[in-house]
Subunit: 133 residues, 2 copies
DNA sequence: CTGACTGCAAACGTTTTGCACGGTA
DNA sequence: TACCGTGCAAAACGTTTGCAGTCAG
């Protein structure tokens, strides 16, 4: 709890119960959609409004202390910003798992082969998690 | 033109002028959104309905002879299915360019480090194209 | 105390659906 | 001819906005 308060304060966002619930969910679940956030919090917090979730997710995105994950065939999911990593996505249950892979050689190869500069990358690996195999 | 007729026939989809226009646009533009498809075709084909574009794009997705490209901060774009490749995305003008990179070592590394099977991957590289630098 | 946040309802844009008509095979 | 595709209008969504009341700092 204390850690989430600190996280919000560090990002110059006022601490409210709704925001604490949102960052706590993201921390525990790892990757979560707006609708999932709303449904889970709503259970213990009936007055919550969907609009509030959207407003908060958007302001957290602007402060870029959370990141959006667009996934084919799924709603966008959100995660707390942390060190660069890739995502394993289960095509059966939709589960998303972080994995740290070295993409440096790939990126330098891309810089060589193209006339783009590159400042960011996103790698998604689709397959089946151990439960769904 | 003949090539597009063949492409549709090979995928057991009836050949209509609207569908020909859509696959031609995808072939020429490479990556294009529903709205862009609609606007471009509408100019030469005033009776076209947005609903028709959606219906066709969805059925082409199901037959998986086109692929969806979800990009942070942009509308989804669609491309004809072809050999596996990655995407360079310009953060300024939104341009998308294909690039072929060898992701094999990355994927075998991921297989080793995780308990997932992997059947597909998507790599997006964000930066600036030569015009926008 | 002041500005920011919340909840509600309305507005908005996008995507889907149902149906009658027209075109493809 | 039989079925599928088209266009239109309406409906269904997801997301955003405006506003009045409330709360955090």
């Amino acid at each position: 709890m204390e850690q989430y308060i600190e996280l919000l304060k560090h990002n110059n966002i006022k601490v409210t119960p709704q925001r604490l619930a949102i960052v706590e969910l993201m921390d525990i679940n790892g990757h979560i959609s707006v609708r999932e956030i709303f449904n889970k919090i709503k259970a213990n917090f009936p007055s919550l409004s969907l609009a509030t979730v959207y407003k908060n997710v958007n302001s957290m995105l602007k402060n870029s202390f959370i990141k959006e994950l667009k996934i084919t065939g799924q709603d966008s999911k959100y995660e707390l910003a942390k060190e660069a990593h890739s995502h394993l996505i289960c095509q059966s249950c939709g589960d998303v798992k972080d994995i740290i892979l070295d993409t440096n050689s790939l990126i330098s190869d891309a810089l060589e082969k193209s006339d783009y500069t590159i400042s960011e990358s996103s790698l998604q690996l689709f397959g089946l998690c151990s439960n769904c195999q």
